[in-house]
């Protein structure tokens, strides 16, 4: 039987511009290609600017995950400016990041992913839709539709909570190198806490049961979308002012074992990316990435990040697994389940952090832009491991680089031809109806892709010495 090609372009209900191409033989996916179809060159835009602009501009890499970029960027700048953030500043940053994790996870399940399992109302934008494998009984389906609407209000509330300390969202305004501009007051703490408890109730009473409901009815998806089985977390949410202890530890899961993580071992390949050759196998900071939209064999604006030459999946499942919070399995369902359970874990922790705030105590430490310096900021965004790197000279940004979750997950093959995590997760999947490839979109969306984040570029002038960066 001839190989059939299924192209999904655009993949909707994600952030950004993504195309997926699958080759199908005898009703099974035999190969897959993930293509990011938009490139802006944000890091090129950053060069030559005041380093303190980075946290505002990088938040605009993505309007869905500005908190993650704001966090990585300010950690990166703290490192370069050699400033120690006061406890209030550190805690408020964690609360802001946590608020957006909650917002993002609720949004992802109900508004991005759910319509792959639930039949929406018969009006646009809920029609047209793929036909076929929708299994929920009517009363349960109706309940999910109602929760879709309720969840719109809940995710909005999470952003209101974020705005209590963040000023507004998206993007927040309070974070800067040295801490945050806002000083905590009792009324702000109370206003935040009240909203947090309401969100916790929604997570416990609606979100988690809904995910478990889908898991039960679509239980075959516990065996679908598995991928390479390598998981990576950079770690995040510092619990002390030295950034030594973190709520999420960094680490990797590979070949059945939990092992360590060293940011110096990250490289990016570009054989299959629309960038001129010669930059493969380099640390992101050293990468050469001149665009070349006509390059032979290339098929995406994303690069292929690797750790010790291996592909890794990142995200809530990866960090929950590495930290021992969730080890049921790696699959479509497990990604949704880990994400929901993480929302609960983070919300509970946030209540504790909130009550550690000291009203009136400083939340910002004075610091100045150094004449020269380097910095690295690693964190866990809603979608997974995120790192920012900066090099400053003459008080300006000489080099800025971000390696983001969706580049790990949706990146292409590496130079050796090993597929990226999403590509690998698709291979082997049985497709019932090529006209309505629900299996494919369910697998893709379980990763919660964010393509605006994933496509980035730098044009370094002299490379830069990654070895000088210290791990924070």
């Amino acid at each position: 039987m001839a190989t059939q090609k299924i192209v999904i372009d655009p993949v909707t209900r994600i952030e950004g511009h993504l195309k997926i191409t699958c080759e199908v033989d005898d009703g099974k996916i035999t190969d897959a290609y993930s293509t990011g179809t938009m490139w802006r060159g944000i890091e090129t835009i950053l060069r030559g600017r005041d380093p303190r602009d980075a946290q505002h501009i990088t938040q605009r890499i993505c309007g869905v995950c500005p908190m993650a970029h704001g966090t990585a960027s300010t950690l990166c700048l703290d490192d370069a400016f050699k400033v120690t953030v006061p406890d209030n500043g550190r805690i408020i940053r964690n609360l802001l990041l946590g608020s957006n994790h909650i917002q993002s996870h609720i949004l992802h399940f109900y508004h991005l992913a759910a319509l792959d399992y639930v039949v929406g109302p018969d009006i646009p934008p809920f029609v047209p839709r793929y036909k076929g494998d929708f299994r929920l009984p009517k009363n349960l389906n109706d309940a999910y539709v109602a929760h879709y609407l309720q969840a719109l209000e809940m995710r909005k509330k999470a952003h209101e909570m974020l705005a209590v300390f963040g000023g507004k969202m998206p993007p927040q305004m309070t974070m800067l190198p040295g801490g945050v501009t806002v000083t905590p007051t009792v009324d702000k703490i109370a206003s935040f806490l009240w909203r947090l408890r309401e969100l916790e109730a929604f997570i416990n009473d609606v979100y988690i049961p809904d995910v478990l409901g889908v898991a039960e009815v679509y239980s075959d998806y516990k065996k679908i979308g598995i991928g390479h089985g390598n998981l990576l977390a950079y770690g995040g949410f510092p619990l002390d002012s030295q950034n030594k202890e973190k709520f999420y530890k960094a680490g990797r899961y590979t070949k059945g074992r939990i092992v360590g993580f060293d940011p110096l071992k990250i490289t990016e390949d570009i054989k299959y990316s629309w960038y001129k050759d010669g930059g493969s196998g380099k640390h992101p900071y050293d990468g050469v990435t001149d665009p070349d939209a006509e390059k032979k064999d290339a098929y995406t604006w994303l690069k292929a990040p690797r750790y010790e030459n291996q592909p890794y999946e990142v995200g809530p499942l990866a960090r929950m697994w590495v930290n021992g919070d969730y080890r049921q399995g790696i699959s479509v369902i497990d990604r949704h389940a880990a994400r929901a359970l993480e929302a609960k874990k983070i919300a509970e922790a946030m209540e504790g952090w909130l009550l550690q705030l000291k009203p009136g105590a400083p939340s910002y430490a004075e610091c100045k832009v150094p004449e020269s310096g380097e910095g690295m900021g690693l964190t866990e965004g809603a979608r997974g491991a995120l790192g920012h790197w900066i090099k400053i000279s003459k008080g300006k940004i000489e080099n800025y680089q971000a390696v983001v979750p969706t580049t790990w997950n949706c990146g292409p093959r590496d130079d050796k031809g090993v597929r990226g995590p999403v590509e690998e997760a698709l291979v082997g999947t049985a497709i019932v109806d090529a006209e309505n490839p629900l299996e494919i979109v369910r697998i893709i969306r379980s990763f919660d892709p964010c393509i605006a984040c994933a496509v980035h570029l730098i044009r370094p002038n002299n490379g830069g010495e990654i070895k000088k960066f210290r791990v924070i």
Binding site: V7, D9, I14, K19, R40, A143, H159, E366
Partner: protein, 314 residues
């Protein structure tokens, strides 16, 4: 952690009631809007060199709620982040609906238009095996629209992707399409009220009054500085010299005098807060000159650009 069906249904009806009650402040306006929306206007929302921040901001609308917007006010036929359809199903539908509602649909555009190298830096779908660039799609669908609303700084003025050195030749929609009314909703991102207020105005009263940059005057005619609660500090000459200090933030880099919006009065996230409310200097994101004209964000405006104090105004 299990939930029974009965509990599900209970939750369902509770939230359904919650959603059914209109939360608009003025009931007459609700009624007028729903009447106007009895034939809900078709809306197509396309994204180019964007970050989806404008969508996320719109989702945060308080009155009306986003559910009311989707269910009662507009027919949102094409919007990549929320629509059920993907791939060919989506692209075919875009063709069908823009043909069926030609001259009637509102085209909402988020993101700038990359024009360098024939727009190859952003493709938004595939038709007959060929990638559709955002550039050609906007050029094709723009003139068939009743009106275009450029949502956010990128679509209105170029914004972040058009910042120096503008690697992909990004242009605002107004430089790519002509012959159709274009409204610019400034902001990075815009406040949901600025967009929805404009849409409701169009539905009930026609095009709102626009300024020379095609922005609705009702939202953008005063500067942030003019309505800032720190205004009196400025006139008294009490300037904060470090983060956390009371006073006008102009020496810390505040671009309030350069930004035109009603942020100080309207506030963000259902009125919870705003930038200067947390002691953060305005970065001037509501301006055609954002970001280059506002950067560096934490450096004070040169004195010749400071606004006059009351005592200096004759």
């Amino acid at each position: 952690m299990e939930l029974t069906r009965r509990e599900f249904l209970k939750l369902c009806s509770a939230s359904a009631v919650g959603m059914g009650i209109s939360q608009l402040v003025v009931p007459e306006l609700v009624q007028a809007m729903e009447q106007a929306a009895s034939t809900k206007p078709p809306v197509i929302w396309l994204q180019g060199a964007n970050c989806t921040g404008c969508v996320v901001s719109l989702l945060n609308t308080a009155h009306p709620t986003i559910a009311e917007v989707l269910l009662k006010i507009i027919d949102l036929h094409y919007q990549s982040n929320v629509m059920a359809a993907s791939g060919e199903t989506a692209v075919n539908y875009l063709d069908i609906i823009t043909e069926r509602t030609k001259g009637e649909y509102f085209l909402l555009v988020e993101g700038a238009v990359p024009t360098k190298d024939d727009g190859i830096y952003c493709t938004i779908g595939q038709k007959d095996g060929k990638e559709m660039t955002f550039l050609e799609t906007i050029k094709t669908l723009g003139p068939k629209a009743k009106a275009i609303i450029s949502v956010g700084d990128c679509a209105s003025f170029g914004g972040i992707p058009a910042a120096k050195p503008n690697p992909t030749g990004c242009k605002p929609v107004s430089q790519v399409v002509s012959g159709v009314p274009i409204i610019n909703i400034q902001g990075c991102p815009p406040h949901p009220d600025w967009l929805l207020g404009t849409i409701v105005h169009v539905l009930l009263f026609g095009l709102p009054e626009l300024d020379d940059k095609s922005r609705p005057k009702m939202f953008y005619s005063e500067t942030v500085h003019q309505n800032c609660p720190n205004y009196s500090y400025f006139t008294e000459g009490k300037m904060a010299t470090k983060i956390g200090e009371k006073g006008c933030l102009i020496q810390l880099g505040c671009k309030g005098p350069m930004a035109s919006s009603d942020c100080p009065l309207r506030k963000w996230n259902s009125g919870v807060n705003w930038c200067i409310g947390v002691g953060a200097p305005c970065i001037g994101c509501s301006s055609p000159d954002f970001p280059d004209g506002m950067s560096p964000f934490y450096s004070a405006l040169p004195k010749d650009k400071w606004p006059k104090k009351d005592s200096e105004i004759a």
